[in-house]
């Protein structure tokens, strides 16, 4: 039995998924309390476990808005930031005016070498002042720290001397191995600000699970559609922010029926050249429609990272596109042109309360679907009335409510199509850096779409026509996101940097650093990477229960370590000594737990 929990804005959903069949055997909805997500989680957990045997649970996974809520409501610690930019751009360009943000002298170069150390007296003075000002968490980021964390570690030692032992001290090299100094600054800040909140959340969650008789690992869903242990999440809470779209994508993925792509055989793509053919994911809610992609059997990740609460971060997340269009979007005419949204005019007029004046607000997309008989929601007569009123206002030849509804629905789908095209353009415009890639790189073109959300089933046929591809809309599942969380596999990503002339190798994501000899080549780097992954897997509780990924024809591939890129550059330094620079990225990609379905 797998337990999935999804904390949304209004509801907290909990599901039990049979790990043999992949079927959702129990689903409950509890309310989400605005100030604290924990009570809702406990309520939902208790309810869903009723009648079930909690000892049979193999894993609990939570997708929550905890971190984001805390950030947006300002219920986080103030963070003293120490940054060492060295030569380059002014780091304050990437930061609001902030008295706790300190730019230190000192620098590391692009190979990670420490060119100038930090002034230690100044550092201690700044730290003491921060402490005096009531700062409870410290973030430390040096430019090029993924290549050499020594400078950051030295600063951290000072911070630990000045602050109490449990004060969070977060290092840039720990939060991301990717090169992007401003994004590391923001990620460090998020992790430092959220450290205490998430520690207490993890502790309460684990305690609550124990109280309910759950002895299984407790995990948290990340924005990259993978899970990590609650303990890990308490150290890296930023990665769990923005897991909503990930849960949704996993939900649709899990809901796709076996052995078919959900469309009749005749309309299936005739030559699926890859087992997990590329799929467009559409999730249409009340206010927004979110697009995501499955490419080559894996969720497509954004090139850079999550943008959250105004901060560009290094948090790995799905490549999504959000459209201000949903079932509750208002319909009106602007300069004689039909216009949908971007504002939400509230629930469909079909659901209008008897005492509400009819002309108060425009009809919604759902009303148009009601008029067309594609949905039967509330009182369709009210929808018809509202469309009549709109037609009269427009005074156009499209005065017939039916014609008008068709017009708006077509317009909505056209908008979705335009955004799909923009998304694919962005995805396919990825720069390339080698002649080989310039000659061969192929474009991603999904040949099918999965469509969920309120209006999905009503729109599926029309969407297929508008998008020019088969569209599968699974049976309405109220708790798809929770199912997605229940079935998610762990993910891991790591970068390796090696410089044989400096005799140094580092895998910042795992905190691995070691000395290497002149004869260190790509196979050595790949081996070190495998070892580091294995070490992490052995230690991290989210891997304790060994789940295998589903490998059916449309599922993901092996859940093994994939090398994303492995590059080796011959180098010749200024003294004409020969060496090599190696860069490697490896990952365990997102996937679904294999079930017998």
């Amino acid at each position: 039995m797998l337990i999935g929990l999804d904390v949304g804005g209004t509801h907290t959903d909990a599901v039990l998924v049979d790990s043999q069949t992949g079927q959702c055997v129990a689903a409950v909805k509890a309310r989400t309390y605005p100030d604290d997500v924990l009570p809702g989680i406990l309520e939902a957990l208790r309810a869903v476990l009723q009648g079930g045997d909690s000892r049979r649970a193999r894993r609990l996974c939570v997708s929550s808005t905890l971190g984001l809520n805390a950030l947006l409501t300002g219920k986080v610690d103030s963070v003293g930031m120490l940054v060492v930019p060295g030569p380059g751009m002014n780091p304050r360009l990437f930061w609001d005016a902030d008295p706790l943000f300190h730019v230190l002298a000192g620098s590391q170069d692009h190979r990670g070498r420490i060119v100038a150390p930090c002034d230690e007296t100044a550092v201690t003075r700044i730290l003491r002042n921060l402490r005096a000002e009531g700062v409870r968490a410290i973030g430390i980021v040096s430019k090029f720290s993924p290549k050499n964390a020594a400078l950051e570690q030295r600063l951290a030692a000072f911070a630990r001397k000045v602050f109490e032992p449990d004060a969070p001290v977060i290092l840039g090299s720990k939060v991301s191995g990717s090169l992007n100094f401003p994004r590391r600054m923001h990620t460090v800040w998020c992790n430092a600000a959220l450290a205490r909140v998430s520690r207490s959340f993890a502790a309460s969650l684990t305690a609550a699970a124990a109280e309910l008789g759950l002895s299984c690992p407790v995990t948290v869903l990340k924005a990259d559609a993978g899970v990590f242990s609650a303990d890990h999440a308490s150290r890296d809470p930023a990665s769990a922010m923005g897991s909503g779209p990930a849960a949704s994508l996993l939900g649709v993925w899990a809901l796709r029926p076996p052995s078919s792509d959900g469309v009749s055989p005749a309309s299936r793509p005739s030559s699926p050249d890859t087992p997990g053919s590329d799929t467009l994911m559409i999730d249409m809610g009340g206010t927004t429609t979110d697009l995501a992609l499955l490419a080559g059997g894996f969720p497509l990740l954004a090139r850079k990272g999550l943008h959250i609460a105004g901060r560009p971060t290094a948090i790995r997340s799905l490549w999504t596109r959000s459209i201000a269009l949903g079932g509750d979007s208002s319909l009106r005419f602007v300069d004689g042109q039909p216009c949908i949204g971007p504002d939400r005019s509230g629930p469909a007029l079909a659901l209008r309360a008897p005492d509400e004046q009819p002309a108060d607000r425009p009809p919604t997309l759902t009303d148009a679907l009601n008029v067309l008989g594609l949905t039967v929601l509330g009182n369709p007569k009210l929808s018809l009335e509202a469309m009549h009123a709109l037609a009269a206002l427009a005074g156009s030849p499209a005065g017939d409510p039916l014609v008008l509804s068709e017009l708006f629905v077509a317009k909505a789908l056209h908008t979705v199509r335009q955004h799909v095209e923009t998304l694919l353009e962005e995805v396919n415009a990825q720069p390339v850096y080698t002649i080989r890639e310039l000659l061969v790189s192929g474009a991603l073109r999904p040949r099918q779409a999965a469509f969920i959300g309120g209006p999905a089933q009503a729109l599926a046929v029309k969407a297929a026509k508008a998008l020019g591809m088969p569209v599968f809309a699974p049976e309405k599942s109220a708790c798809a996101n929770a199912v997605g969380a229940a079935l998610a596999l762990p993910t891991l990503t790591a970068e390796l940097y090696a410089d044989t002339l400096l005799g140094r190798m580092s895998i910042p994501d795992f905190g691995v650093e070691k000395d290497i000899g002149r004869e260190y080549h790509l196979p050595d780097a790949e081996r070190d990477m495998q070892t580091a992954f294995a070490g992490f897997r052995a230690r991290d509780p989210s891997f304790v229960e060994q789940f295998s990924p589903c490998t059916d024809e449309h599922g993901c591939g092996e859940h093994s370590i994939q090398t994303v890129y492995a590059e080796s550059f011959a180098m010749l330094d200024d003294e004409r000594r020969r060496g090599r620079i190696l860069r490697l990225r490896a990952q365990l990609a997102a996937g679904l737990i294999r079930t017998a379905f």
Binding site: P85, M89, N180, F181, P182, H307, I308, Y433, A570
Partner: protein, 445 residues
């Protein structure tokens, strides 16, 4: 993706929009130890990524399109055949420049910078082989494509590579609609040994080529003086529709194969004064000490952003200094060059007149391939157009080809003359390379 967007400015915005085409050709080198090797733009890329440059609103990275042989043949004659000289990396690099140029010409960005390799400014009109790390002229290929596609007419190229841009000079030698200005280390002290003040353009385009040979060890002050007191006034007077910067980063004080003293911030200030629409990377071989910083500073200058914090680790005030004696020399050089630019009606001393044609003979050395070429060049003295250009190219005492170039806006007389020359050459069984820019027709026979 964006969640709960607030107005907190975590992302800075550039003053001008800038498109970058970064193509480091990580799988290509001339030879493993050659300055033009895989590693060359590696540290630049690391620096740009680590800076978070591509998160700045207004700065975007673009994928290059592969260059087309048609784009190459618009610019060059290649008697051995393009297949023998032009390799995929050259096309990729030219394609990167073209992609950058199209961003600006097509109105997608206000500025563009092609950070690409291999470079191209030593590639001349006739290409018998590789010269000075270059095979085809990536700026010229870009310019002629933009002229064809967007109808741009007056183009100025300012070459700030430490080496004289002899290839670009040669391609536009007879073109009065293209202004070429080269700032470089004096040819008496550095490859390719040309680029003296008296090289002012062909008989029909005198003053459209300007050379500023600077003394060795010229630093920020010297370069900025030339930019302010010579280049800027010439550009303001000449009024180009488009300004291209052949951005060689080898004037840096750490460059291993040159002897100049420009700093990263000096480069940025120079770019700021020049205000080019499009920059194309040329040389620069201090790949660790200079390129990451110079390229970053130039990018920030193009985007109109603050570059004052881009201070290279090895920088020291003394290292970027121009000697007072050099400053005097540079002042005089600028005055002399301005006079030459203003008084361009003097007869070209390096040509002799025979009939309607100005002629000269010269020899070109292709250092990459060790080829010595002899050229006899004739250009028609025409009052209606820039004039038919005829180049007879000889390698190893064998006439390879008669190259006939009809420039844009060619007059009917030159056109008829070209046909006549072509017929004659075919009659003598000589190979002919024929290029007609107006019709965009390029043929070999």
């Amino acid at each position: 993706m964006t969640i709960a967007e607030k107005t907190t400015p975590g992302t800075p915005k550039s003053v001008r929009t800038l498109g970058l085409v970064f193509f480091p050709a990580y799988d290509w080198a001339i030879t493993p130890d050659h300055p033009e090797r895989e590693e060359r733009l590696l540290y630049t890329q690391d620096q740009l990524r680590e800076e978070g440059l591509f998160d700045i609103a207004g700065i975007s990275e673009h994928r290059p399109d592969m260059g087309l042989m048609r784009d190459v043949s618009r610019v060059h004659f290649c008697p051995p055949g393009f297949d023998a000289v032009v390799e995929t990396p050259h096309l990729a690099s030219a394609g990167s420049a073209v992609s950058a140029g199209r961003l600006v010409a097509g109105g997608r960005t206000q500025k563009a910078f092609a950070l690409t390799r291999p470079p191209g400014h030593h590639a001349m009109k006739v290409v018998q082989g590789g010269r000075g790390f270059c095979a085809v002229n990536i700026e010229a290929i870009m310019i002629e494509r933009l002229r064809r596609e967007y109808g741009i007419r007056r183009v100025a190229i300012v070459d700030t590579d430490c080496h004289h841009g002899d290839g670009t000079q040669d391609i536009y030698w007879h073109d009065p609609h293209t202004l070429f200005i080269s700032l470089h280390q004096d040819g008496r002290t550095l490859y390719p040994g040309t680029g003296f003040s008296t090289e002012l353009g062909g008989p029909g385009a005198r003053g459209a080529t300007i050379n500023v040979p600077l003394p060795p060890q010229t630093g920020d002050e010297g370069f900025l003086y030339v930019m302010k007191h010579l280049v800027r006034p010439i550009l303001d007077h000449w009024r180009p529709d488009l300004v291209i910067n052949s951005a060689g980063q080898d004037n840096h004080f750490t460059d291993p194969i040159t002897d100049m003293r420009l700093s990263a911030r000096g480069y940025a200030r120079m770019v700021e004064l020049l205000n080019p629409d499009i920059a194309v990377l040329e040389g620069g071989y201090s790949i660790q000490g200079a390129l990451p910083y110079v390229n970053l500073a130039v990018i920030l200058a193009l985007a109109g952003m603050d570059y004052s914090h881009v201070i290279e680790p090895l920088w020291h005030e003394e290292l970027a200094r121009t000697a007072p004696k050099s400053m005097d020399y540079i002042g005089e050089l600028c005055e002399k060059t301005w006079r030459l630019y203003e008084h361009t009606h003097t007869a070209p001393h390096d040509y002799t007149k025979s009939g309607y044609f100005w002629t000269r003979e010269r020899s070109v050395y292709y250092d990459t391939d060790g080829i010595r070429e002899h050229q006899r060049e004739e250009v028609r003295d025409c009052s209606d157009c820039p004039g038919l250009l005829v180049i007879q190219s000889t390698v190893d005492y064998r006439t390879w080809s008669v190259c006939l170039h009809l420039p844009l806006e060619a007059c009917p007389t030159c056109r008829a003359e070209a046909e006549e020359r072509r017929r004659q050459a075919i009659g003598k069984k000589q190979p002919v390379e024929y290029s007609d820019r107006d019709q965009d027709v390029y043929e070999r026979s």
